[in-house]
């Protein structure tokens, strides 16, 4: 079957359309509107499902002059990610309809959730760099609304803002990175923003990137963007805070969508950047996150917090996998993308069930829930064992492939590279530990304080049960799923050939030993969970000063204080201050522009200036000085008049007959108006403070110098040809406009509309003057 534009476009667009209708529909339909969301997700899921096995790009022009188009691309990876987002979306909407019963603002909630789903589908399928950026930022904005669902709650506000600052900050890095890649793509002769073409000809773009020296900057920026989105060290801290959101949101954002966006982007650009730098940056980042996330998950006291840190850890696993060069890297990353989405979404939904039925999320207050929630217990067992990577559950297969990737990298790299497998095993031991701890909520002893727990309603249990069913399928028949989509997806991110084998290992090898160590050490340590947590708490307290959260808070505080300081200095309510800073910045920017283009100041030709011009202009400047130092208003106005008349004479000397006439009329009128107004206004008696006068004089000198330099730089050379525009008007004035006075013809014929606008300005000014003067006489004061 061929790839169609409309199935993809509708799959992305429908959630947005539905989102726009939500606030209107909600008052009519009520809480059941959630099922409409599920239906929309199902339509998207179905449309995407029809595209499995296809590969290619389709596009419709958007901004042809900039080579920006609505380009959509489908391949295994894009479809896998999009199917996960929409498939889990169906379950989340169904779950939310029951879970969010009786909560306020549901119209807005579902609107944001739908728009979010559309954005994630957009990220998955976009094959245009700008389109990708657009959807990327939309996911950040929507997640801000979703995390800040409890708008009145201070903690919710703080967390939403934190998520926004980190992910949008990452988005800015993405934008710059994208522009670098676009520059290179253009150099290589490919459409600047065409991601599909860039990836197809990645060798050419890569060479162009290296030649322009943009390779490392682009790589680093894209990795920062992905790290911010996918909660990698040290930008992971927004993820656990985001758990203030309602559980369906957490389950959706933090299992399959929002946080996977970064991982997905890394997988996408992997063929373009793979190499030594890529591995040392991405794989190290991933492995570090894997370890830190696992340690923090063990420390957690809240079940959603535990899941959040565990998510960070598993994201680290995927990032690390994509970091390794070998085919195992691509395989592990993609396969775990699928497995993690399934088990983590299920576990979040289970956490929601627990919080809903038991009324607490505190780990130490929960236990022995299997009697009260038997079905949920089975689901949890499947999901946690998969998360821990215990054979034969699905998580084991992908983790085993990661072990193979680390093992291979260590064998070829030697030396320090052996830290990769070591750190992976270390992190995985803790993964087993916290997974078992989560399972223990159901199988441990029941604490005395725990009250009676109701059986969960079907609507809350069915969605996680569906996910558990999918997990079971992957665990029992991994090859079926791999053949359906995972293999294709891995091929899209891989550099060479991929061939995923998942199964229980039958020979002893390095990676197998790693798995054995992981599982046995995990089980052996579990009885000492409390002691281990105590030790970790000690470490955490000792390093509190360098925690990213602390750094974030102090940075934000500094920014806050600085901006308050700047505001009190720059925007203090006096227009004069605004003008002062505005002019200074304008001059600084102009000077920076001149400096960056490194233009030399041309030697001015002084000798040829006619004496008359020098005289007239000197008188003008002297008059201006007299205005500036005028004692009374009347002297000032008169000297201002002198300045105006001198300028009029200057126009005559500069061949501007019409200018001189106009200037003379205007000056005479202005003089009259000034004198009329001044009659009503008293003299000003204020003293000139020395400090301020000096400061203002300094700024005046800066402005004057900037203007001086600008004239020298911008004035045309002597004897330069007239501009084409000037020639056009001179030659066409008579034949086209029927007049010999070129300036008049321009004003009344060629640019008559502009002159009409100008007349309107003068009329408006006249009307305003009239209104201002008559208003007070009618008694309208203030």
């Amino acid at each position: 079957m061929d790839l169609g534009f409309w199935p993809l476009a509708i799959a992305i667009g429908l959630p947005f359309v539905a989102a726009a209708g939500m606030p209107r529909l909600y008052p009519l339909v009520g809480e059941r509107i959630g099922y409409l969301g599920a239906a929309v997700a199902a339509v998207s899921f179905g449309l995407l499902g029809t595209q499995i096995g296809t590969e290619g790009s389709v596009s419709r022009p958007w901004i042809p002059s900039l080579d920006v188009a609505v380009r959509l691309h489908a391949d295994g990876l894009a479809l896998l990610f999009a199917l996960l987002a929409s498939g889990i979306g169906i379950l989340i909407f169904a779950y939310a309809t029951s879970y969010m019963h009786g909560k306020p603002d549901l119209g807005r909630f579902y609107m944001a959730l739908l728009a979010f789903m559309g954005s994630v589908l957009g990220v998955a399928l976009a094959a245009d760099l700008l389109l990708l950026f657009l959807f990327w930022e939309l996911t950040s904005v929507c997640s801000f609304v979703l995390i800040g669902y409890h708008t009145e709650d201070a903690e919710s506000q703080y967390s939403a803002r934190m998520a926004m600052v980190i992910t949008v900050g990452g988005g800015l890095c993405l934008l710059v990175g994208i522009l670098f890649v676009a520059i290179a793509a253009e150099t290589a002769g490919i459409g600047a923003f065409d991601l599909a073409a860039i990836l197809e000809r990645n060798d050419a773009v890569r060479v162009a990137l290296e030649e322009t020296g943009l390779f490392t900057p682009a790589l680093v920026l894209l990795v920062i963007a992905a790290a911010a989105k996918s909660a990698q060290v040290p930008l992971y801290f927004w993820l656990p805070r985001a758990m203030v959101a309602p559980t369906p949101v957490s389950a959706f954002l933090h299992s399959a969508t929002m946080v996977k966006v970064g991982v997905y982007a890394l997988g996408r650009v992997r063929p373009l950047f793979h190499g030594t730098e890529w591995t040392s940056l991405v794989a190290t980042l991933g492995i570090a996150t894997m370890a830190v996330g696992a340690l923090l998950a063990v420390l957690a006291r809240d079940i959603k917090e535990l899941l959040a840190y565990s998510t960070a850890s598993h994201l680290g696993l995927m990032v690390a996998a994509f970091g390794f060069r070998s085919r195992y890297g691509a395989e592990a990353g993609v396969f775990h993308l699928l497995n993690h989405a399934l088990f983590k979404a299920a576990l979040f939904l289970v956490a929601g069930v627990i919080a809903h039925e038991a009324g607490t999320r505190h780990i130490d207050e929960l236990g022995g829930l299997r009697h009260d929630l038997p079905v949920t217990a089975v689901i949890t067992a499947l999901a946690t064992l998969s998360m821990a990577g215990i054979p034969p559950f699905s998580g084991f297969y992908s983790k085993e492939i990661l072990f193979e990737a680390t093992w291979e990298t260590a064998q070829t790299g030697g030396g320090v590279a052996w830290l990769y497998p070591a750190a992976a095993v270390f992190a995985s031991v803790f993964t087993v530990l916290y997974s078992l701890r989560f399972l223990w909520l159901f199988f441990g002893d029941r604490p005395d304080g725990l009250g009676s727990i109701h059986r969960a309603p079907g609507a809350l249990v069915v969605p996680p049960a569906v996910l558990a069913g999918a997990l079971l399928l992957v665990s029992v028949r991994p090859s079926a799923v791999i053949d359906l989509i995972v293999n294709d997806a891995a091929r899209a991110t891989a550099v060479g050939v991929v061939d995923i084998h998942a199964g229980i290992p039958r020979h002893v090898s390095g990676p197998v030993v790693m798995s054995v160590i992981t599982v046995s050490a995990g089980f052996a340590c579990f009885p000492f969970y409390t002691e281990i947590r105590g030790i970790l708490e000690g470490v955490s307290t000792a390093t509190a000063r360098v925690h990213p959260t602390t750094v974030y808070r102090s940075t934000l505080g500094t920014v806050d204080r600085t901006s308050r300081l700047v505001r009190s200095r720059v925007q203090n309510g006096l227009i004069r201050t605004y003008v002062w800073w505005l002019l200074l910045s304008a001059c600084a920017l102009t000077a920076a522009g001149y400096a960056s283009t490194a233009v030399g100041i041309p030697a001015p030709a002084m000798a040829e200036t006619p004496v008359a011009v020098v005289l007239v202009l000197s008188v003008a400047v002297v008059a201006a000085i007299a205005v500036a130092s005028a004692e009374s208003h009347v002297t000032g106005v008169l000297t201002l008049g002198i300045l105006g008349f001198m300028i009029a004479i200057f126009y005559i000397l500069g061949s501007g007959a019409d200018l001189a006439l106009t200037q003379l009329v205007v000056e005479t009128l202005l003089l009259l108006i000034f004198l009329l107004v001044l009659e009503e206004i008293p003299e000003f008696y204020g003293e000139l403070k020395r400090g301020r006068a000096l400061r203002d004089a300094a700024l005046s000198v800066v402005v004057g110098t900037t203007a001086f330099v600008s004239v020298l730089l911008a004035a045309p050379e002597r004897g330069a040809d007239p501009t084409p525009t000037a020639v056009f008007y001179v030659t066409n004035a008579v034949p086209e406009g029927g007049g010999a006075n070129v300036v008049n013809v321009i004003l009344t014929d060629f640019r008559a509309f502009d002159t009409l606008g100008e007349s309107i300005v003068v009329i408006i000014a006249a009307l305003s003057v009239l209104v201002l003067l008559t208003m007070r006489d009618r008694g309208e004061t203030q």
């Binding site: 003008a620 201006a624 007959a657 202005l670 000003f684 204020g686 001179v730 030659t731 003068v762």
Partner: protein, 114 residues
């Protein structure tokens, strides 16, 4: 020639800026007027000022080709517009100052109630 123009433009801009920053509202209006004049001279300098002559004025003596090469008429059209607009602006600013004085009973901008 350019140097003279540049010096004039620089001096006028500097004096105008100084006046705009004063407490006396009337002086602020003067500053604006001087800055508009400076901007007009700036525009003239962009056309390349040449000594005036019968051919340099952009009013054609003959109604058929070949046409002479006068100074840039576009710039003159621009300045003409600018002169009229700045007239409107200055008149409006003055009236506004008058009204501001009526309401606040002072033309010291720092003494106004904020």
């Amino acid at each position: 020639m350019t140097f003279t123009l540049a010096a004039t433009v620089g001096a006028l801009f500097a004096l105008g800026t100084f006046l705009v920053l004063r407490d006396d509202l009337i002086k602020v209006v003067w500053g604006l007027a001087i800055i508009s004049q400076a901007a007009n001279v700036y525009l003239i300098s962009m056309g390349g000022l040449v000594a005036a002559g019968s051919d340099t004025v952009p009013i054609l003596a003959t109604h058929h080709a070949p046409f002479p090469e006068p100074t840039d008429p576009v710039i003159q059209a621009l300045i003409l517009t600018a002169i009229v607009i700045s007239f409107g602006m200055t008149a409006f600013a003055l009236t506004l100052s008058y009204r501001a004085y009526q309401e606040n009973e002072t033309i010291n901008v720092t003494k106004w109630e904020q």
